[in-house]
Amino acid sequence: MNHSYTVIAYLIYLPIALLLTTYVATTLFRNGLVFMRDIFFGREDIAKATNSLFKIGFYLLNLGFALYILQISDALNGTQRIIEVLSSKIGGFSIYLGVMLFFNLFLFFRGKKVSRQKHDERLALQNLATPAK
C-alpha cells in the first residue's frame, strides 16, 4: 500500500513542477526579448538566438533540478503525509525557481549596463575620430 501512495505523490508532483517551470520560463523570456533587443542594439537575429539559448539553459537546469529532487525516501502512510511531503517539496522548488528568476534578471540587467557602456565608449571614439570644426 505504501508504494501506491508514493506513486500517487510522484504523479502529483511531476505535472506541478513541469507546469511551474514552463510558466516561469515563458514569463521571464517573453520579457527577456526586450532586454536582448536593448543589449544587441536592434540586431534582431542575435537577440532572438541569445534569448532562446538562455531559455533552453533555464529549462534544462530547472527541469533537471525538479527531477533530481523527485525521490521520496520515507514511507508515506496516509493522505496527511502526502500533503506534507509534497508541499515541502513544491515549496522548496518554487523558492529555488524564484532565486533562478532573480539570477537571470540580474544577468539581463548586467548585460544591458555593459552594452550601454560599450555604446558610450564607441560614441566617444567616433567623436574623437571626427575632427572638430
Binding site: Y10, A49, G64, Y68, L70
Partner: protein, 123 residues
C-alpha cells in the same frame, strides 16, 4: 518483462527524444554565433555547425546508454519512476552545464574577436 527492462525502454525513448529536440534547438540558434566567429563565411559555418551537431548526438546519446550499465535494481513502480528521474536529472544537469559553458565560450571568443578587429581597424 521485469521492471528494469521497462525502465530502460521508457528512459531510452525519453532521453533520445530530449537530446534530439534540444540538439536541433542548439543547431538552429547557434548558427548566428558561428557565422559571426567565421566572419560571414556561410559554407564553412554550415559544415561546422553540422559537424558539431553530429558530435553532440554521438557524445550524449552514447553517454545516455552507457548509464544503463550502472542502473540500480528496480523492484516496483515507485522505484521505476524515481530511478528514471534520477538518471535523467544527471544527464540534464550535464547538458545544462555544458550549455552554459558553451555560452561563456561564445561570449569570450566574440569579445576577443571584437577587440582584434577594432585594433586592425584603427591601425
Amino acid at each position: 518483462m521485469n521492471f528494469n527492462v521497462a525502465a530502460y525502454i521508457v528512459y531510452g525513448i525519453l532521453t533520445v527524444f530530449m537530446i534530439v529536440v534540444v540538439g536541433r534547438m542548439f543547431y538552429r540558434n547557434g548558427r548566428v554565433f558561428i557565422l559571426g566567429l567565421m566572419r560571414d563565411d556561410a559554407a564553412t559555418t554550415d559544415q561546422l555547425n553540422h559537424l558539431l551537431l553530429v558530435t553532440y548526438y554521438l557524445f550524449n546519446i552514447g553517454y545516455a546508454f552507457v548509464k544503463l550499465r550502472f542502473w540500480q535494481k528496480v523492484g516496483n513502480l515507485e522505484m521505476l519512476v524515481s530511478s528514471i528521474a534520477n538518471n535523467m536529472s544527471v544527464l540534464i544537469f550535464i547538458l545544462a552545464s555544458t550549455h552554459y559553458m558553451n555560452m561563456l565560450l561564445i561570449w569570450f571568443l566574440s569579445r576577443s574577436k571584437k577587440s582584434l578587429t577594432n585594433k586592425s581597424f584603427q591601425s
